[in-house]
């Protein structure tokens, strides 16, 4: 491939690839991200290739492997275009039927269609599925159109058009203006206005400037950045090139964690393709602007998602944060002005340049514009990656898109923002997804993790879980974070194990204040949030643990006893057989009894009982 020398070269290429795409007939689209592979997409793809070869239709039926489509619950998925037919939970055995029915044009296999859990009806197309219908997919919509390994696919959908637009007409400050007017705020968690960050970096004195894409996503249960980088690496790279042009940088880094091997491979491939096409390197598209990107791989430390720690890690030092009294836009990587943005922030940039800031700003609330991707996990029916416009209520996220609670239980809370965020109760579900509204409620937007919890979740135990995570992942440099979180964990563990004292609650508040005021970095400062938010909204659970020595949700093992409800038990004996400690006795067809001394509170019997006769209080 000869390098593209001008804008018209790219335009011609776009036209050629688009024609090529239009002329293609039947296309089978199979998501093949890391999450899809975990559900078995690799086997389905192998079978599909084999089947197409057997049927001799390799030429006219196209197959496109893409990144994750978001509906992880139903994977592996096969999407048939044209027609938008959506088959879910496909097994290699189904492939034969799919190919033969697809050839017969339009024949739909009923058993593979998605069943709406609310109405119980079969749904034929992707667009009709409530999970997708309630979303506003701006970034994720590209996922099914693009094979992440193919720059052709990306150019065919108009990729690198925003770059042409930037390089051909707009001056440096006009690009920044556009971003500022759009109201884009950092998607990594802090929500710092991107336009302001770029302005400060562009104005900072210094010859060498750097651009960094933060793909060191470490929140438990969050995978937005991985999905974007795996599904559409060129979108992120295009955003970075535009950013580099705007602030005057010539070198960029994608810092991605080693646990995302597929994202590393795809990003590396995309960079290589860009170099071949002349979209990265010297004199991009024949202009005087030069820029190149390298990949830095993180070792899996949560703290390396913090900007200064990430830069230290890129410099080859230990990944520890440093004091941020001078901002990284002035003194960042190797003490040079640096713009660091999250994957999702970079991915939004081409859209803003292409469609204009006004269109971007038309979505969202006063302080938060555009859309945001969330990883919806936990006790909801539909788990997966969802994208909604800012301002959408938590209610709509959890119930309309998530489909409400699994197993018919009541939903109790949602945890947003990962370990630095907080738990919001159902009474706060009318809150919009908005940086400031969530912050005021004691949580935060974070990078987009959203864990839904039902009534069987103990909030004190949740606080303990996150403290345990943070204690492991704290870099250990500063005293408040290292010792403070350790002591908080000690106290909360005491509470969950029945040794809690009323005065310890006040001590928790005081520790939380100390840590959030004095810790060295942003991660330390937000570390007490899980405890503070659960204390704020679920204080009655703490009181029950401390004063009554009971766990209302029946989770904390030291505080609960298992018992069998005589009215519901019919003596089937399932629990008796499943108990590993022989703690359950009872004759056939007679009420069974749990021996409290022998019971180790493992909870196996609760899961086994078909009559909900066993309770833990």
């Amino acid at each position: 491939m000869p390098k593209l020398k001008s804008y018209s070269d790219l335009e011609a290429l776009h036209k050629r690839f688009l024609e090529d795409k239009k002329s293609s007939g039947l296309t089978l689209i199979i998501p093949d991200g890391t999450c899809c592979r975990a559900s078995g997409s690799t086997e389905v793809i192998a079978e599909l290739k084999k089947e197409l070869a057997i049927q001799g239709r390799k030429e006219d039926i196209r197959m496109r492997t893409t990144g994750c489509h978001g509906f992880c619950e139903q994977e592996p998925i096969i999407l048939i275009e044209p027609g938008n037919i959506f088959y879910c939970r496909v097994t290699p055995e189904d492939v034969k039927d799919i190919v033969s029915s697809a050839i017969k044009n339009g024949a739909v296999i009923d058993r593979l269609l998605y069943t709406d859990p609310v109405s119980g009806k079969k749904v034929m197309t992707e667009a009709e599925i409530p999970f997708y219908r309630a979303q506003d997919r701006q970034l994720l919509a590209f996922n099914k159109l693009v094979d992440p390994r193919s720059i052709k696919d990306y150019i065919a959908i108009g990729g690198y058009g925003a770059l042409t637009k930037t390089l051909s007409g707009i001056k440096h400050d006009r690009v920044i203006d556009e971003i500022r007017v759009s109201g884009l705020r950092g998607r990594g968690g802090g929500g710092f206005p991107t336009g302001r960050k770029w302005t400060e970096c562009a104005e900072a004195p210094g010859e060498e400037k750097y651009i960094i894409c933060n793909a060191d996503e470490g929140d438990p249960g969050a995978y937005m950045d991985r999905c974007l980088l795996e599904a559409n690496p060129h979108l992120v790279i295009e955003g970075m090139i535009i950013g580099a042009y705007a602030v005057g940088a010539h070198k960029g880094y994608i810092y991605v964690r080693r646990e995302y091997p597929l994202a590393v491979v795809y990003a590396r491939l995309a960079i290589q393709q860009c170099r071949e096409y002349g979209l990265l390197g010297e004199n991009i598209l024949g202009t005087s602007f030069s820029f190149d990107i390298d990949i830095g791989r993180g070792g899996g430390a949560f703290v390396c998602g913090e900007s200064t720690a990430l830069m230290a890690s890129l410099e080859g030092k230990a990944g520890e944060p440093r004091a941020k009294d001078t901002h990284t836009v002035k003194e960042g990587l190797w003490n040079n002005p640096t713009v660091l943005n999250n994957v999702e922030t970079w991915a939004n940039v081409p859209l803003i340049i292409m469609d204009g800031a006004k269109r971007f700003a038309s979505k969202g609330t006063k302080g938060s514009k555009g859309t945001k991707i969330f990883a919806l996990t936990g006790q909801v029916k539909n788990t997966g990656l969802v994208e909604v416009a800012m301002g959408t209520s938590l209610n709509s996220l959890v119930f309309d898109i998530g489909g409400g609670a699994k197993n018919g239980r009541a939903i109790k809370a949602v945890q947003t923002g990962g370990p630095s965020g907080g738990c919001l109760p159902v009474s706060k579900f009318n809150l919009p997804v908005d940086f400031d509204a969530l912050f005021d409620a004691g949580s935060m937007m974070g990078s987009g993790g959203m864990v839904v919890m039902d009534e069987r979740t103990c909030m004190v135990d949740v606080a303990r879980y996150f403290l345990n995570f943070l204690q492991d992942e704290s870099c250990g440099k500063c005293v408040p974070c290292r010792l403070g979180i350790d002591r908080m964990l000690e106290i909360v563990t005491d509470i969950t194990e029945g040794r809690g004292r009323p005065d310890q609650i006040n001590l928790l508040y005081e520790l939380a204040e100390t840590i959030s005021e004095t810790a060295l970095c942003g991660l330390g400062k937000t570390a007490p949030n899980p405890v503070l938010s659960t204390l704020r909204y679920f204080s009655e659970e703490y009181v029950a643990h401390v004063e009554k020595k009971s766990c209302p949700a029946g989770v904390c093992k030291a505080l609960i006893t298992y018992s069998i409800n005589a009215d519901k038990c019919n003596g089937c004996g399932v629990c008796l057989r499943s108990c590993p400690h022989d703690a359950i006795t009872g004759r056939k067809k007679k009420t069974h009894v749990i021996n409290a001394q022998l019971c180790r509170r493992c909870g196996i019997c609760i899961g086994e009982c078909n009559f909900e006769a066993i309770t833990a209080i």
């Binding site: 704290s474 440099k477 500063c478 000690e490 100390t514």
Partner: protein, 230 residues
């Protein structure tokens, strides 16, 4: 030519050389800001957070460590407000609960106003101030010590984990270690740890002038940089 800036620490006008930290400026002007991990001449990492101050920026008070905060023209800083004092006391309490067997840390606890310790004592050997590591790497240039692990597992060790061939046996690490001075009454056994507090009488002289350095005896053992600089 050396450039100077003017700032205010606790309402006291201070003139300091450009590029020095607020902590250094305060100490050389006899304003007491308790500190532990700071040693004159070594880089500051802001690990102990004892030297926190309120930095007034755009009318908002921001809490930050003074050792990593560089002086700027017109800066307004407070080191002894109620908020700072309380937070500093909480940090000192965490430290003394972790390592009661150090006279230096017991003295810091007294200086910061700790009167009770609300956590179970742990008889720790190291509070990871990093004095030894930085001296070894920056002054002795031996690179024989470093931090290993993170979070709860963080500890000081020879980088490969075994006795390092780089060590020059200069003993400076021991000299600078706050754990090397045992409490006056001898080391406390496990289970018998307590807040010493015997030097509390010395605090009386700072009662009316809480932010002023009075060359207290406390500073001698915790190696206040004012003593080190002399």
């Amino acid at each position: 030519m050396q450039q100077y800036v003017n700032l205010k620490i606790n309402n006291v006008p201070v003139r300091a050389a450009k590029g020095v930290s607020v902590l250094d400026a305060a100490i050389s002007n006899a304003i007491c800001i308790p500190h532990l991990c700071h040693i004159p001449g070594l880089s500051d990492i802001g690990a102990c957070r004892l030297c926190i101050v309120e930095n007034i920026e755009d009318g908002r008070a921001k809490i930050t460590a003074s050792c990593t905060l560089l002086v700027q023209e017109g800066m307004v800083v407070f080191s002894d407000t109620d908020r700072v004092t309380k937070l500093r006391r909480n940090i000192a309490e965490l430290l003394v609960a972790q390592a009661p067997n150090s006279k230096a840390i017991q003295d810091i606890a007294v200086r910061c106003g700790v009167t009770e310790v609300r956590y179970p004592f742990r008889n720790g050997d190291c509070i990871l101030c990093g004095r030894c590591v930085r001296f070894c790497n920056e002054q002795a240039r031996a690179n024989a010590l470093g931090f290993i692990g993170r979070g709860k597992d963080r500890h000081v060790d020879h980088p490969p984990g075994s006795l390092s061939a780089y060590c020059k046996n200069c003993n400076a690490c021991i000299q600078f270690c706050p754990m090397s001075v045992t409490p006056c009454g001898g080391p406390m056994k496990k289970g018998e740890e307590r807040l010493c507090g015997q030097c509390e009488s010395q605090l009386s002289m700072t009662k009316d002038l809480p932010g002023v350095c009075v060359w207290c005896e406390l500073g001698k053992s915790f190696q206040c940089s004012r003593y080190l600089a002399v």
